[in-house]
């Protein structure tokens, strides 16, 4: 292609600046978790791993992690069921109002979290007389997780077509057997990707959680937020923050592995 050497150099420099913009703050977070100073001081005069040990023993952090995982798994489970069912309905049937479904599922993540949050809080506590807790958190999270499962499932169903299912039925399998042996295995990687995204969304969510959790439950983001401005907690917050930076590599690794599997499956 006819892109001059100067233009290439300029673009490479801009890409480098962009990547530095993205990664310098994350690096600072990681370095800060080893900063021996109790309060914020930069650059660190001495490095230590003692905060990591303290964070591991911190019951507040461990409880928060536990609640985050429970809420995330429950919301992901519900989102997988509802999102997949909706995807099947939209891609295999015709019905009144089908066109608005894609807008309906995307609404919970495109409207501001604070709006969804107060709407759900108002409905739960004022209209239905429920008390906020794990159940309300899971309902709130599942609502905005449906869209990622739905999008992945719809894309896969469109690509799959119906011929495999028809062949299975022609060979005498009933609907349930066909679903179990043909449809589900073919959708597995798409559902895994959707579920991973859903869990990621739930694990990181703070605004809707603020309005649906109540005092009894602290998820990890809520714990960080509550301790962000407490000076004596700074070292522990730094460690939790650094851990979350490291953990972000896991889903990327998993999805890269997944996509290489499927592309090599196509090649051979």
């Amino acid at each position: 292609m006819t892109i001059s050497r100067n233009a290439r150099f300029l673009l490479a420099t801009l890409l480098g600046i962009g990547l530095a913009f993205i990664y310098i703050p994350l690096t600072v977070v990681v370095i800060n978790s080893f900063n021996s100073s109790r309060t914020f001081s930069w650059p660190p005069t001495e490095l230590t791993t003692k905060w990591w040990g303290m964070a591991l023993d911190n019951t507040g952090v461990r409880d928060a992690l536990k609640w985050s995982i429970i809420a995330g798994l429950s919301a992901t489970f519900i989102a997988l069921l509802l999102g997949t069912a909706l995807a099947f309905a939209v891609s295999r049937y015709d019905f009144f109002g089908k066109d608005v479904i894609s807008l309906l599922v995307v609404l919970p993540i495109s409207l501001p979290g604070v709006v969804t949050g107060i709407a759900l809080n108002n409905a739960f506590t004022k209209q239905l007389g429920m008390s906020t807790g794990l159940l309300t958190v899971v309902i709130g999270h599942a609502t905005f997780c449906i869209v990622v499962v739905y999008n992945n499932a719809v894309a896969r169903l469109r690509r799959m077509g119906t011929s495999l299912q028809e062949a299975s039925m022609d060979l005498g399998a009933n609907g349930i057997t066909t679903f179990r042996l043909i449809t589900l295995p073919n959708m597995a990687s798409a559902l895994f990707a959707g579920g991973l995204l859903a869990f990621g969304l739930s694990f990181d969510e703070i605004v809707v959680t603020t309005f649906t959790a109540g005092p009894g439950i602290q998820t990890l983001p809520i714990w960080i937020y509550n301790n962000l401005f407490r000076p004596n907690q700074t070292p522990i917050v730094n460690v939790v923050a650094a851990t979350l930076v490291f953990i972000s590599i896991v889903p990327i690794y998993l999805s890269q592995k997944l996509s290489t599997d499927s592309s090599s499956g196509g090649r051979f």
Binding site: M1, L19, P25, V114, V115, N122, P221, Y225, S248
Partner: protein
């Protein structure tokens, strides 16, 4: 089991009903129901003595909102922040996405995409917390890094919010543009060059019009996510308030008024989505 399977197989309407009931109950009855209830609350008022919501229909909240200059300023400020964030993300994202899609070798392209995707999975709070340490006036990392060339931290306030939100949503802008550029055939660029257009000319007259739907798709994230944010403003915004902060503060003391303010970002988003639909950007998400 066999019986259920047979009945289901013979009756497509029954299958459809089985598939649709739960998701529609959830999204329409629970979610839209909650939103509608909130909207109705915007027309109620509170008992100034007990603080309880009084279900008397009136437009007082909307009158208060439209006449008080303070709210107008918050709306304009929030819009200004959301637009600035979108512009900054676009300017940063285009050259990055262009290098990734058109110049990088396939191998390094894959690594670059992973490098852009990874921070999306790092926690929202961690990223804003990181900017607190970056921008800390006096001993922040940015002043330590760029102090020698005369850089002074803007401190916590409007500029900090714009930087923080641009940082958060930049990958959401890079990825659609990258996807758009990847679909753009290279021979179009060659043809433009052969006909005598220079790099900049080709970019402005050929590339930019063709990736416009991708830009709009990215802006849906940068704009809408900035519009409703209040956490970033709380952490690095100093005393500055955005629309989300006003909603949050009114939530516990005057729910009807919080609901009234909440209609502003929802209306802006509805108008934006309606405008965007015509560019075909929704298919690019």
């Amino acid at each position: 089991m066999q019986n259920i399977s047979n009945t289901m197989h013979k009756n497509p309407k029954l299958r459809l009903a089985a598939l649709l009931t739960a998701p529609i109950l959830w999204l329409v009855v629970a979610y839209l129901g909650a939103l509608a209830t909130l909207l109705v609350t915007a027309f109620f008022t509170i008992d100034s003595f007990t603080g309880n919501v009084l279900q008397i229909f009136n437009l007082g909240n909307f009158q208060d909102m439209l006449t008080d200059v303070a709210y107008k300023n918050v709306v304009l400020r929030t819009l200004g922040i959301a637009i600035s964030v979108t512009i900054i993300c676009t300017i940063l994202a285009i050259p990055m996405a262009f290098y990734m899609a058109k110049i990088a070798k396939p191998r390094s392209r894959k690594i670059l995409v992973a490098l852009i995707l990874t921070p999306l999975w790092a926690s929202y709070l961690v990223k804003i917390y990181a900017w607190r340490t970056m921008l800390e006036p006096g001993n922040g990392v940015l002043e330590w890094l760029l102090g020698p060339i005369g850089f002074k931290s803007p401190g916590f306030g409007g500029p900090a919010i714009v930087i923080g939100l641009s940082y958060l949503w930049l990958p959401y802008m890079i990825l659609p543009i990258y996807a758009g550029l990847e679909r753009l055939p290279n021979n179009l660029l060659d043809a433009s060059g052969d006909l005598g257009a220079h790099n900049w000319h080709t970019f402005r007259r050929v590339v930019l019009p063709l990736i416009f739907p991708s830009l709009v798709a990215g802006s849906m994230f940068t704009f809408s996510l900035s519009l409703g944010d209040y956490i970033t403003a709380t952490i690095i915004g100093g005393k500055l308030q955005m629309l989300g902060n006003v909603v949050y503060q009114n939530f516990s003391i005057n729910l009807p008024f919080a609901a009234t303010i909440a209609t502003i970002p929802v209306t802006i988003m509805a108008i934006y989505l309606w405008m965007v639909r015509r560019t075909g950007a929704l298919a690019n998400l």
